[in-house]
């Protein structure tokens, strides 16, 4: 504690916890992090922990029920599908597709979107008008339709799924980041930086990006869940990951004709999607509340 001779007793406050330090104060969201952790491990360790080859067919052992059903066995803990492929192994491998699609797409879209938002907000005027109309146009285009067009014209593939979703998704980021930048640009420290001789690049990289990072992190987390659902929907429709690669969406689709007799074929991938998406959404909510409670609209 120091006393300022001019101002009387001004005490330098104890280092106050900053936003990122507050992460620990609030207690980490153990359940969402745990679920995500388990699925990430599954994806990484899939070749080691899978009881069988996920693409190996065995028509003699098709539609085996899960182990707790009288007719099931430990050979196939979650049963088999209509081609006799091991469900558990397919779910393990399917988590690779879902997580990779979610993370890669969101990173791609957020990088592009944030760049557009920063440029639009910083330059304003005509640049802003053009970029924002482009954003509006993009947001009005249905993702599923674009993916179907891509699937029909160039054929379904993992790359096409990522591209189709990212090409639409960046617009959300652009709009949110631009809004933040517009607020930041009104603040004196931006003007002060420009007066101190900072050029566009310096203002954007040193002052705008660090101040929009919280928003970006929250939005990225919330969007991963959304992208996983979109990827699953595309795979369900056959416009996503082509067979025989296991993807949760296509697994649900394969089981849908047999729901009454072999419910496990569709149920387990469905549960996997539910758990992962829920975990990412909970984590995103928690990050939002912790980092910036003002971001309720995201």
């Amino acid at each position: 504690m120091r006393v300022d001779p001019l101002l009387g007793a001004t005490v330098l406050p104890e280092a106050e916890p900053r936003a990122w330090a507050r992460l620990y104060d609030r207690g980490l969201p153990v359940i969402p992090l745990g679920i995500i952790g388990v699925f990430v491990l599954m994806a990484i360790l899939a070749p080691l922990i899978s009881p069988a080859d996920p693409e190996e067919q065995s028509l003699r052992s098709r539609f085996r029920p899960p182990v707790w059903d009288g007719r099931g066995s430990w050979r196939h803990p979650l049963g088999t599908d209509r081609l006799g492929r091991d469900m558990l192994s397919r779910i393990f491998y399917g988590s690779r597709v879902s997580l990779a699609a979610g993370v890669i797409t969101v990173l791609l879209a957020s990088a592009v979107g944030a760049a557009v938002g920063l440029v639009a907000g910083y330059y304003g005027g005509r640049v802003d008008a053009v970029l924002m109309r482009l954003t509006d146009a993009t947001m009005s285009f249905p993702v599923i339709l674009l993916a179907l067009i891509l699937a029909v014209t160039v054929g379904p593939s993992f790359t096409n799924v990522v591209v189709a979703i990212a090409v639409i998704l960046w617009a959300r980021y652009a709009r949110v980041i631009r809004g933040q930048v517009l607020t930041l640009m009104e603040l004196d420290f931006i003007a002060q930086a420009r007066i101190a001789g900072a050029g566009a690049w310096r203002v954007i990289s040193r002052h705008l990006v660090p101040n929009t990072l919280n928003t970006l992190v929250v939005l990225v987390t919330l969007q991963i869940g959304y992208v996983i659902i979109v990827e699953a929907s595309l795979s369900f429709l056959g416009a996503g990951i082509p067979p025989p690669t296991p993807a949760w969406g296509s697994m649900i689709a394969e089981g849908r004709e047999f729901v009454t007799s072999a419910w496990w074929v569709s149920l387990f991938p469905g549960l996997a999607i539910l758990l992962v998406v829920l975990a990412f959404n909970l984590l995103g909510d928690w990050l939002r509340d912790t980092l910036d409670p003002k971001l309720r609209q995201l």
């Binding site: 001004t10 280092a15 603040l187 007066i195 101190a196 001789g197 101040n211």
Partner: protein, 329 residues
């Protein structure tokens, strides 16, 4: 600037500066033919109501007028004889922060909230002094000490939200003098500080000026501060300087009716007043300025001649007024 028989050439010499902004309500003549000059070590006060073009004049000097609107920026702004309005943006970036520094009004938002004071100070310090590492840190601490920030080393690690408004404004002051500027523009730097801190800060600015001999443009609407800080005053109204002269001269014998009204509206201790005098009416719409004197509609001494715009008329050496009252009949 008729006389002032000083040998020193002006640091900043603004001639016929015009900043017109094209908005959807029409062309706003925010700055309309402003001329003034400030010498080394001298302080010019720029006073006027909100929207009279004070801040826009300052922003025009450093060419940082709002970029989202198009418009005109013309005239000459000579900084040590070099016209800033002909510079490229790249050249301007080198001039800003090195030759011209500026302190803005709001200390609450004048520092980047996500970086510590030290992180923000190292930028201007490194850029000007070419220092690195421990030497850079030491120089930053010295600068903080020179603006009377106690325990500067500790403050370098602090974040903006840990400092008071007065303290933050002094940090901004320290950054402004990191590269001793030729011209310091202070745009109402003390508006949001409380009175005792205000007095200290003004004293500090004067002290820094005495040490570094920069020319200063001090924007304010507080005439008390003008009396304390400035050698000369320029009174702005609707984008024009309506009266300019030495502080004493303006305070003792104001010539322009607007200046007179401004001075009368300052409450004085001991004066028996039932109510404060105000300047009647509203400032004009800068997009629809009248052809003649912009103050005519509110002027108590308005006459027929006011339909025609008055030129700048000399009242006394170094004192001019833009009013027909000064014209020989």
């Amino acid at each position: 600037m008729t006389s002032q028989t000083l040998a020193r050439p002006p640091v900043i010499d603004v001639r016929d500066l015009r900043t017109h902004l094209v908005t959807r309500w029409g062309t706003v003549k925010a700055v309309d033919g402003v001329s003034f000059a400030v010498r080394e070590g001298e302080t010019l006060g720029l006073v006027g109501e909100s929207g009279s073009g004070k801040s826009m004049t300052c922003l025009s000097i450093v060419r940082l007028t709002p970029r989202s609107v198009s418009g005109v920026l013309e005239g000459t702004v000579l900084l040590d004889g070099d016209d800033l309005l002909t510079k490229s943006e790249k050249e301007m970036q080198r001039i800003r922060g090195r030759k011209v520094a500026m302190i803005l009004q709001d200390p609450m938002s004048s520092l980047n909230p996500v970086f510590s004071i030290g992180m923000q100070m190292r930028e201007p310090v490194a850029a000007y002094h070419g220092l690195r590492g421990a030497a850079l840190w030491r120089r930053a601490a010295e600068l903080l000490a020179s603006v009377r920030i106690p325990s500067p080393e500790a403050r370098l690690r602090a974040f903006p939200h840990q400092l008071s408004g007065g303290m933050r404004q002094r940090v901004v002051g320290a950054m402004a003098i990191a590269a001793p500027p030729r011209l310091l523009i202070a745009d109402e730097p003390t508006t949001s500080l409380d009175l005792t801190i205000q007095a200290q800060y003004l004293g500090l600015l004067k002290e820094l000026q005495a040490r570094h001999h920069f020319a200063m443009i001090f924007v304010t609407h507080n005439l008390g501060i003008v009396a304390k800080m400035c050698e000369r005053v320029a009174v702005m109204y609707a984008g024009r300087i309506v009266e300019m002269g030495a502080v004493r001269e303006i305070f003792v014998s104001p010539r322009h009716p607007y200046t007179q009204a401004l001075l009368e509206s300052v409450p004085r201790l001991g004066a028996k007043l039932d109510r404060l005098t105000t300047v009647e009416g509203q400032p004009p719409d800068l997009a629809r300025l009248p052809a003649g004197c912009a103050f005519a509609a509110r002027c108590p001494k308005v006459m027929d001649r006011c339909a025609e715009a008055p030129p700048e008329l000399a009242v006394a050496p170094g004192h001019s007024s833009r009013c027909w009252l000064q014209a020989p009949a």
